[in-house]
Amino acid sequence: MAKLNINGRVRDVQVEADTPLLWVIREQIGLTGTKYGCGVAQCGACSVHINDQVVRTCVLPVGSVKATDRIVTIEGLSATGSHPVQKAWAALDVPQCGYCQSGQIMAASALLKRKPKPTDHDIDDAMTNICRCGTYQRIREAVHMAAGRKQA
């Protein structure tokens, strides 16, 4: 049994305490925008925000998440897909297959919260999620765009 605050809603879930938060989000809560990619915190497809920090949830036991922790998934990033990162991603047609992009967007939005005007070096350090389609060039440009360097 765990109490989770996800996208502003408090939910009770019946689940073993060692279950990774990723699978609780996907299977118990039913929000599938957060993806399974590797299970070893390498690829970042499972990234969400916990108290505004980006966290890879595939290795985070749900038992270690407090009821007061504010979890935000891709579904809760904005009500209408209008977060500056989402708008920049759309403007530059960043996604190819799209599977990793929830995680990319969560990583980028957490970066911008922390550093509203990131340098290329900041982007290099923060955006370590794997994209097998290779959308990295557009991700970099879109992060800059979302930071207001260019009009979206």
């Binding site: 299977e27 118990q28 925008g33 070893v40 799209g98 955006m127 994209c131 389609c133």
Partner: protein, 727 residues
């Protein structure tokens, strides 16, 4: 415009064979049928490709699989171009293989591989769009009782010139749907030079739901009462399941049962995937690893090495006497290259959901070949094809892994057989995905060249020893080891993958050396390895001749003007011959595959510690008609990432018969910080249709390796670079 003839004709659209043993007719009546696909209620199906809703939305049917490459948008552009609808009101709909079968394959081939999505369907999808336009105009003309020649259309608004009357596609679609379609063959398609929608950098139609988590990939499917399966195959290829101790996991929460999937595979089924996966990890399993367990990368390497000197050789090209020419040459160059097995590593691991009942088999899956998925579903379940359906989801990566070999569908069917009327979703762990791929085949290549006293190439001998994809996938295709597919990119014939050089004496040979490791097509397939062998060795030969890398190639390419034009375009945009910052070096490469011509310039530095940094890459591509230049650029950018992942890190090594790289900690992939600046040059060409998704990968690695050669003075002959000491 001529009035539409009232005769119904049938036409034939080629003889593409469906994969997986599915044999269906190819006659395609473009009949008039009620809209039957989901989501088109109250909409009128003008023909198989075009459904128009009362609000003027044009729903364009898409038969090929979308896996990120943009085919959904590109195909819609081609239909919309001829339809002359309002691009802002275009929507798309994926037809299913069951629908295609039920309608005598009216949508043609659905398989999506070999960069063929657009280049083998552009003609009939455009004719479909044009036929729909003609019918819509005819319906308006009929309503107004005027000759159709007097009505015109722009952006889906139909106008009668004489009276100024206007209507829209949405208003006349129901009447248009009742008309007999025109003769498709006699339709004159628009000259691509006059395209208004195709040929333009339109935004993708499928981006929005990738930004807010709402896109449903196959792995996200939710069905009432669904169970979940985690799966494990014998880690050694060819090994068998001996026994397991189900009692050890009984009583674990949510676990339903253990299922023997096939001779080598076991699954645990539970109420959630995580519970299934945890129980599977705790399940004691005994394997008979079989003879494959004695194999390793070292034994496989020796096997290939033996082939380099073997007698059972397939001479693919033998022009002049290359051996004598090289022996008699003023200068000789020799080298042996090698490339490893590689995994596809799609971001979405293999998965499949199946529901079986007495009369029906259904499957939800990400597939590059949904007709092969349908065939596998039917064969494995025993349910007749007509009572099977595959709901295809856009893929979270394909790269060749999700093509004809529908192993995951067959497994999911075998699991679902134990749970009649209950949908079961099987998901592979990343470790399973990496450990049971159909890997890019391993090969070695021995090359020799002769130069005359003026530094001209007089003879070239290329011998590849390696595994054959065809021998694994379809052995009937290979007789006596003669597998031309393994020599992709070296053919003398124009068309798909022609070698861009003319050499006075040329000998190209293949020695088939198969292993126990399953192999298959991997984005770019054999062009990738073969481009490394050819283009890195040509670089060695150019340097031995004391020639400039670009000029040496140009001298061999006078009979290959398209190859040459692309090489020149890359060289111009890539500033070949111009100064570089200190420590930065350039490399160049060109190659052909999938009907398209590619060339690359790489700017690379090698640090004092031997660390490689790729700063900039310029890629030129001639794919003929360029349906969406921005998406072509996206594919080129992606191909650089795919190619660099392989060049820098990619290898699947075998120990005790199994793969050792089972996750991204050991199978590293390129990340954003390592992505060079990529510039794409689309070389204008309007006389053919080439592929886009695959061809440019092949030139990425050789351009980088040749830049490293320029930096260090030493050729790199084995991959990946992480294993090579550069300084």
């Amino acid at each position: 415009m001529k009035d539409i003839k009232l005769s119904r004709r049938r036409f034939i659209v080629g003889t593409a064979a469906a994969g997986g043993g599915l044999a269906v007719g190819i006659r395609m009546p473009l009949g008039l049928r009620a809209a039957e696909a989901q989501g088109t209620a109250a909409a009128a199906e003008v023909n198989a490709w075009v459904v128009v809703k009362p609000d003027d939305t044009c729903v364009i049917r898409i038969a090929r699989s979308e896996m990120g490459q943009g085919t959904r948008t590109g195909l819609a552009q081609l239909v919309a171009e001829e339809l002359e609808c309002d691009w802002k009101k275009v929507a798309t709909e994926s037809i299913t293989p069951g629908q295609n079968l039920a309608r005598e394959r009216v949508w043609g081939e659905m398989a999506t591989g070999g960069s063929r999505g657009i280049r083998t369907s552009h003609d009939y999808v455009r004719r479909g769009g044009a036929a729909a336009r003609m019918m819509l105009l005819q319906a308006a003309a009929d309503e107004w009782k005027v000759p159709v020649a007097e009505v015109s259309v722009a952006d889906g608004v139909i106008t009668h010139a004489g009276t100024g009357r206007r209507t829209t596609y949405g208003k006349v679609a129901a009447a248009a749907a009742k008309l007999t379609p025109p003769d498709l063959k006699s339709i004159k398609l628009r000259d691509p030079k006059e395209w208004k929608i195709a040929g333009k950098p339109m935004k993708r139609l499928d981006t929005a739901d990738k930004l807010d988590g709402s896109k449903v990939f196959a792995i996200d499917v939710k069905l009432p009462g669904m169970l979940h399966a985690a799966i494990k195959a014998c880690p050694v290829f060819g090994g068998k399941l001996v026994s397991y101790d189900e009692a050890k996991i009984s009583g674990r929460p949510g676990v339903r049962r253990v299922v023997k999937v096939n001779d080598s595979t076991i699954a645990v089924v539970a109420d959630t995937w995580w519970r299934a996966r945890s129980a599977l990890e705790a399940l004691p399993i005994v394997w008979d690893e079989g003879p494959g367990a004695s194999q390793s990368s070292a034994t496989i390497g020796k096997h290939l090495e033996e082939g380099l000197a073997a007698k059972d050789v397939y001479a693919f090209r033998n022009e002049g006497d290359a051996i004598a020419a090289i022996q008699g040459a003023a200068k000789k160059v020799e080298a042996v290259y090698g490339t490893p097995f590689l995994a596809h590593a799609t971001m979405e691991p293999m998965n499949c959901t199946v529901k079986l009942s007495a009369e029906r088999a259904e499957c939800w899956v990400a597939t590059q070949n949904s007709e092969a998925s349908l065939a596998a579903l039917s064969e494995q379940s025993g349910v007749p094809l007509a009572k099977c359906e595959v709901y295809r989801h856009d893929l979270g990566g394909g790269f060749g892994r999700r093509g004809g070999n529908q192993d995951y569908v067959r497994q999911a069917v075998n699991i679902a057989k134990h749970f009649p009327d209950v949908p079961v979703k099987m998901i592979w762990s990343r470790e399973e995905d990496m450990g049971h791929d159909f890997y890019r085949p391993i090969s070695q290549c021995k090359l020799a060249a002769g130069l005359d006293d003026k530094g001209a190439l007089v003879g070239l001998h290329v011998r590849i020893s390696g595994q054959s994809i065809n021998a694994f996938v379809n052995p009937a295709l290979v007789t006596n080891g003669q597998d031309a597919r393994q020599l992709q990119g070296y053919t003398d014939k124009p068309g798909d993958a022609q070698l861009g050089y003319t050499v006075p004496s040329l000998l190209i040979e293949y020695v088939m050396r198969n292993t126990h490791v399953p192999v298959g097509p991997w984005r770019g397939v054999n062009t990738n390895q073969n481009a490394v062998y050819m283009e890195c060795f040509i670089e060695e030969v150019a340097r031995a001749a004391g020639a400039d890398s670009l000029e040496f190639r140009r001298a061999l390419m006078s009979k290959h003007p398209k190859h040459l034009a692309v090489l020149n375009a890359a060289a111009a945009k890539g500033d070949w011959g111009k100064p570089l910052p200190a420590g930065v070096h350039r490399g160049i490469a060109q190659f052909m595959g999938y009907g398209s011509y590619s060339a690359a310039i790489a700017e690379v530095s090698v640090s004092g510690e031997g660390k490689v940094k790729v700063h900039r890459m310029v890629l030129a591509l001639d794919c003929g008609h360029a349906v969406n230049p921005d998406q072509i650029a996206a594919q080129v950018e992606g191909s650089v990432a795919y190619g660099l992942s392989a060049a820098l890190y990619g290898e699947c090594t075998v120990q005790n018969g199994r793969m050792t790289e089972l996750n991204f900690d050991r199978y590293q992939l390129l990340r954003l910080a390592e992505m060079p600046k990529v510039e794409t040059v689309i070389v204008p060409s309007h006389d053919f249709w080439g592929g886009v998704g695959e061809p440019t990968i092949s030139v990425v690695t050789p351009a980088v390796l040749n830049a490293i050669f320029a930096a260090t003075g030493k050729p790199v002959r084995t991959l990946p670079l992480k294993n090579v000491t550069l300084v």
